[in-house]
């Protein structure tokens, strides 16, 4: 089973539903030490992506570009911009392609991770969404079967959160409250877990 524009459309529908559902939860996780808008960012962003889902181009590059722009349009929050950055990085490589093999997932997510690192001027190990993505890259490396990839990705984002939980925040608004943040999950990592679970079509 290869990934096409149709597969993407199905994933977008699941994502938008999940973000609608997780709106309050993400806002309150972000509100603990931040400005409490992460639910807003993700709900608005994915709803805007959903609006374009029926007219999604067959060209996967163009399709991902449209998704990226949906995020840049709907929000100025860090997470929305990082999402757009990651999506655009993948879009650039996939320009002209109409399908992609599941085995490429790991390297595509790696592209997104690197672009987001460059954009946000942050490093791995800083307890951010980057650590979630890096975990996905490592966990899905060498895998081919869609189910295996989905399970590995979902497990890895949870593990990444568990590993990072007792470290202090180093990036974003929570950085100021580094001490308090110990023992708390990073909002961006929580959001990425929900995103991966939705895209992987597993239960939250």
């Amino acid at each position: 089973m290869t990934i096409t524009s149709a597969t993407m459309r199905a994933g977008i529908i699941r994502l938008a539903a999940a973000m609608e559902r997780d709106f309050d939860m993400l806002n309150s996780v972000d509100g603990a030490l931040g400005d409490g808008d992460l639910g807003v960012t993700m709900k608005r962003g994915s709803a805007t992506v959903l609006q374009g889902a029926d007219d999604l181009p067959e060209d996967l590059g163009m399709a991902l570009l449209a998704c990226a722009q949906a995020f840049t349009k709907s929000s100025g929050s860090s997470y929305g911009t990082l999402m757009a950055t990651g999506l655009m990085a993948m879009a650039k490589t996939l320009r002209g392609e109409t399908s992609v093999e599941p085995s490429q997932v790991s390297s595509l997510v790696a592209l997104a991770r690197d672009a987001m690192m460059a954009r946000g001027k942050a490093e791995l190990g800083g307890k951010t969404v980057l650590d979630s993505l890096d975990a996905v890259v490592q966990a899905t490396k060498g895998l081919n079967a869609p189910d295996e990839i989905a399970d590995a990705a979902a497990t890895s984002v949870q593990t990444a959160m568990d590993v990072m939980r007792d470290k202090p925040a180093t990036i974003g608004r929570a950085r100021i409250f580094a001490e308090k943040s110990i023992g708390m999950d990073d909002p961006g990592m929580v959001a990425m877990k929900q995103i991966i679970i939705a895209l992987a079509d597993l239960e939250a």
Binding site: D35, D37, Q69, T72, K73, S74, S75, G76, S77, S78, G80, T81, L82, A84, T85, M88, R119, G120, K121, I171, G172, I176
Partner: protein, 332 residues
């Protein structure tokens, strides 16, 4: 919440619609997002464009400084929130008169990402962009790490000086170099007496005792260097000048401009009380004061408090600082 508003979600849109309605000779809205403010009359072709952006709630910063001899366009976010990359891209498109655009804004993580992202977007449209960041708040990081500092009221000097350089016909590299020199020459320190209220939050951003102040607080309520009993005006002014001098010592003959800025609620009466000390300290150091600015130039809505910004001038900076400019909030 002692604020005059309707639905908090409409605060920024309604503010912008009132702004352009009151001053159509200065401002117009540009693009689809409804949150890009541009000059009513675009500058002539060939002028370098200057774009800024950031969160709402700081009038005259940011939108207010769109005008002749100042900015070409501004992308404005929700209160204290970065504008989106798409808005910034719209502002860049609008400010491009064929000679490229300088992105001139405050050093905040969200803004950085969005301005960079916007640059990527318009790069496909052959718009050349450069960047100068304001990082003037001496309380937010030591001098050795000044690239980490927050951008505060120094922005106003940078807008003014870069704007005049662009108006004078310098090319993109020239305007960028002048703007960077201005940004590097700015040193600011703030002190807050009370919080403001972000409309969508509905309650004050932070609590502070009835007899307390916080030295070094940021313009969104970011933590400062100490919190304690409210001091007298003279003691506050002396400490703030000490902190500026520690960062930027002056020698006899130096020429400086100084801004004594209200964060919002503090009335001009109290700025003038502070100015006595500011002037005495600068003159005591042998410096000559050029065009002092006393008023509300960069605010945090109804926050009570004050900031000082000192800029050390050379001939070029002074020429552009004192050149004419015109917007609804400031005319030179």
């Amino acid at each position: 919440m002692k604020k005059i508003l309707n639905d908090p979600n409409d605060y920024v849109d309604e503010m912008l619609s009132g702004l352009v309605a009151a001053h159509p000779e200065y401002y117009r809205l540009h693009g689809e997002t409804g949150k890009v403010v541009a000059r009513a009359q675009s500058a002539q072709s060939g002028k370098v464009g200057i774009v800024t952006g950031g969160g709402s709630g700081h009038l005259p910063v940011f939108t207010g400084y769109v005008g002749t001899g100042l900015l070409d366009a501004c992308a404005i976010g929700d209160v204290f929130a970065s504008p989106s990359a798409e808005q910034i891209a719209d502002a860049l498109r609008c400010a491009n008169h064929g000679a490229g655009v300088l992105r001139l804004y405050g050093n905040y993580g969200g803004d950085l990402m969005n301005f960079d992202m916007a640059g990527d977007l318009v790069e496909f449209e052959d718009i050349k962009c450069t960047t100068v960041l304001l990082a003037d708040d001496v309380a937010s990081a030591p001098f050795a790490e000044r690239e980490k500092r927050r951008g505060v009221a120094g922005m106003v000097y940078a807008f003014k000086i870069a704007g005049a350089a662009a108006e004078a016909g310098l090319d993109l590299d020239g305007v960028t170099a002048v703007a960077q020199k201005a940004a590097d020459a700015c040193h600011s320190i703030g002190a807050a007496l009370s919080s403001c209220t972000v409309p969508q939050a509905g309650k004050p951003t932070f609590d502070i005792g009835e007899d307390e102040m916080e030295m070094g607080m940021g313009i969104h309520g970011e933590p400062g260097v100490w919190r304690g009993k409210l001091r007298t005006a003279d003691v506050i002014a002396e400490e703030m000048m000490d902190r500026l001098f520690a960062d930027q010592p002056l020698v006899a003959g130096d020429r400086v401009s100084i801004m004594v800025n209200s964060l919002g609620a503090t009335p001009p009466e109290e700025l003038y009380i502070l100015y006595r000390i500011v002037k005495a300290r600068l003159e005591g150091a042998g410096a000559q004061i050029v065009m002092p600015l006393v008023g509300r130039y960069a605010t945090s809505m109804e926050m009570a408090g004050v900031s000082f910004t000192m800029i050390k001038l050379d001939d070029e900076l002074e020429k552009y600082l004192t050149a004419p400019c015109d917007c609804a909030f400031w005319r030179v």
